[in-house]
Amino acid sequence: MTDKILLAHGSGGTLSRDIVNNSLISVLGNSILNILDDSAVFTANGKIAFTTDSHVVQPIFFPGGDIGKLSVCGTINDLSVMGATPLYLSLALIIEEGFPTKDLDTIIDSVRKAADEAGVKIVTGDTKVVNRGNADKIFINTAGIGIIPEELSVSGHNAKPGNKVILSGTIGDHGIAVLSKREGIAFDTELESDCAPLNKLVADMMLVSSKINCMRDPTRGGLATTLNEIAEQSGVSIRIDEEKIPVRREVAAACEMLGFDPLYIANEGKLVAVVEAEDAEAILMQMKKNKYGHNAAIIGTIEEKYAGRVVMKTTLGTSRIVGMLVGEPLPRIC
């Protein structure tokens, strides 16, 4: 392999085969992918969840992860919060000419580690190389499928008055970690992105309860935007308690400095679950046993009044509306 990716690596010719064999198959290979036909062929039984996500994070390497890990976890989490067991992923790379081959290898290694941890397989993929300047280093698209138990119905439309809202841990870690390494506003912090596959956490939760009505991963737009989406889809209001929402000290400090609100900062390894009140404590206890749910907390309740709204009790005891994220307060983060 050359030490930089060349346009010819995306041409479909021998250099393309070179990159596929040396950088991809040798790391990600499995019995389905190795066939190298035009489509992956496999059997899947049951109700299928199918999702796709493109990743354009900048910088591509950040504390706690990189674009490879992010692109796998993002799709796994989108499947997981539907109650699906993720099985197979596709991986499509758009690479800028001149991209260092060793960086590609690092990214693909992260893809493998994240897929291994979650127990999913990369079964098909694509590589394109574009002229220098036509993409920013590397963009990755992943799509994935998972199987949902036949009787399960987890949806943003299912939140009901009286339900409890559980958050799986601290908010804002990913957005602030990425921001801390951005050119122009870089600052020193020990903080790492929370980027992680949540399928095992969800499996743990479903072991102890069948009364999980709705789950979401609060990525772009943060917790506030996710809660607003649920309130709107289900036609309910959500009352949350500021004191109960876990925020790391570093995140709170960075937000204060930059004028951001942690409620609107992206997460890549967190989920929000709306569950029947009688099962809330049991689900919470189970989540706390999982390494990705240590800091889980019950942060609020679903109510009827002010449907479509999210209202927060502040630490001062007053209340305020928490709206959707409007516009683009932050640079590209996922």
Partner: protein, 363 residues
């Protein structure tokens, strides 16, 4: 986190609220001049803690909001000059001028870059020696010193392609103009904390002296603001009007003398136009003649076109404290943060934006 939460403790807040209740026996209206105070008050729901005798009114202290359309039009016209790089604070690029904004100019091919500091704009000038770089200099006494420093730095380095479009404004003259207009009847003024850190509390001496209105300089945490309101209420109860500081960890009577000196070295007061208030003498800052080489307005030939004010928008009245955002018929209906008609909905410090994001029950 401790450093922050110590300013947000509910038991301390309750103590201050009890004290405010004891003092605020008579009707009184206080104005928070500064947009950051408006946001902190709305975001923390502080009005819910105050007795019905007290009314808080927002003032013109949002530098983006008070920038007049004619000035915005200049910035947009500059951005359209081929080959020029315009650097601006983020909020400014979405503010509508007479018929467009910097964001639209960017989408049409202008080179508009968002920076966090004028020193970033200076860096753009260093790395693009063949192109003129214009920094859109907006802000009160808080930002003017760093812009002045950037001009001095450019001069020292011999940079020939760095310019500023000065739309700076200073606060005391506009407060005087507001009080002279007699439109708002105030008993107290919550004085801006960050501006005062530079100017010193002395900048507000004239308000109790000439107008008999109490002044307290406040910080931006909920407890800072409650303490300030308590001090204003106590003055009102005693029939006093004096200047006090409730933000001693940042503000002194004399202020930051180095920052004041650097501002005076580079800028001189000028007549400038404020949205909603029109021309106010000596309330702007323009480059002194010896720094004319850095003045984008003198350097470039551009035509901002005729000025037009958005129909139905009451930002001007909101900025004067005469009306509240919910009294605007465009508010929440046509004017939203995604489709802002006036600047008070664009700026993160704008009253309309604060009411939109944090107001209860559609207020």
């Amino acid at each position: 986190m401790k450093e922050l939460s110590s300013f947000r403790q509910s038991d301390l807040a309750q103590g201050l609220v009890n004290s405010i209740n004891r003092h605020a026996t008579k009707e009184a209206r206080f104005m928070e001049f500064c947009g950051s105070h408006t946001v902190a008050i709305m975001k923390n729901g502080l009005r819910q803690l105050l007795p019905p005798t007290l009314t808080l009114t927002s003032g013109p202290g949002c530098p983006v909001c008070v920038t007049a359309n004619e000035d915005l039009d200049k910035a947009i016209a500059l951005a359209k000059i081929p080959g020029i790089i315009v650097a601006s604070f983020g909020d400014m690029i979405r503010v509508p001028g007479s018929s467009s904004n910097l964001q639209e100019a960017k989408a049409s091919g202008s080179d508009v870059r968002v920076v966090y500091s004028p020193l970033d704009a200076l860096q753009i000038a260093r790395t693009n020696p063949g192109k003129p770089v214009v920094f859109i200099a907006v802000g009160f006494e808080t930002t003017a010193p760093t812009v002045a420093a950037s001009v001095l730095q450019a001069k020292q380095e011999g940079l020939k392609n760095y310019y500023i479009l000065s739309m700076h404004k200073i606060c005391p003259p506009v407060i005087r103009a507001l009080l002279d207009s007699g439109e708002v009847n105030l008993q107290g003024l919550i004085c801006p904390g960050h501006v005062s850190a530079v100017t010193g509390a002395k900048a507000w001496d004239f308000i109790p002296r000439d107008y008999g209105i109490s002044c307290v300089v406040a910080g931006f945490e909920p407890l800072d603001i409650l303490q300030c309101i308590d001090m204003l209420s106590e003055q009102a109860a005693k029939g006093e009007a004096k200047l006090e500081i409730a933000y001693r960890r940042s503000v002194t009577y004399e202020g930051n003398l180095t920052a004041q000196k650097i501002m005076e070295q580079v800028f001189e007061p000028s007549l400038t136009s404020w949205r909603g208030m029109g021309d106010v003498p000596d309330s702007g800052l323009k480059l002194k003649p010896e720094f004319a080489a850095y003045d984008a307005e003198l350097k470039f030939d551009f035509d901002p076109g005729p000025t037009r004010i958005q129909k139905g928008c009451i930002c001007g009245e909101v900025l004067r404290g005469v009306k509240t955002p919910s009294q605007c018929r465009l508010f929440r209906k046509i004017c939203t943060p995604l489709n802002p008609v006036g600047p008070c909905m664009v700026s993160s410090e704008g009253s309309c934006s604060a009411h939109y994001h944090y107001g209860e029950n559609n207020d």
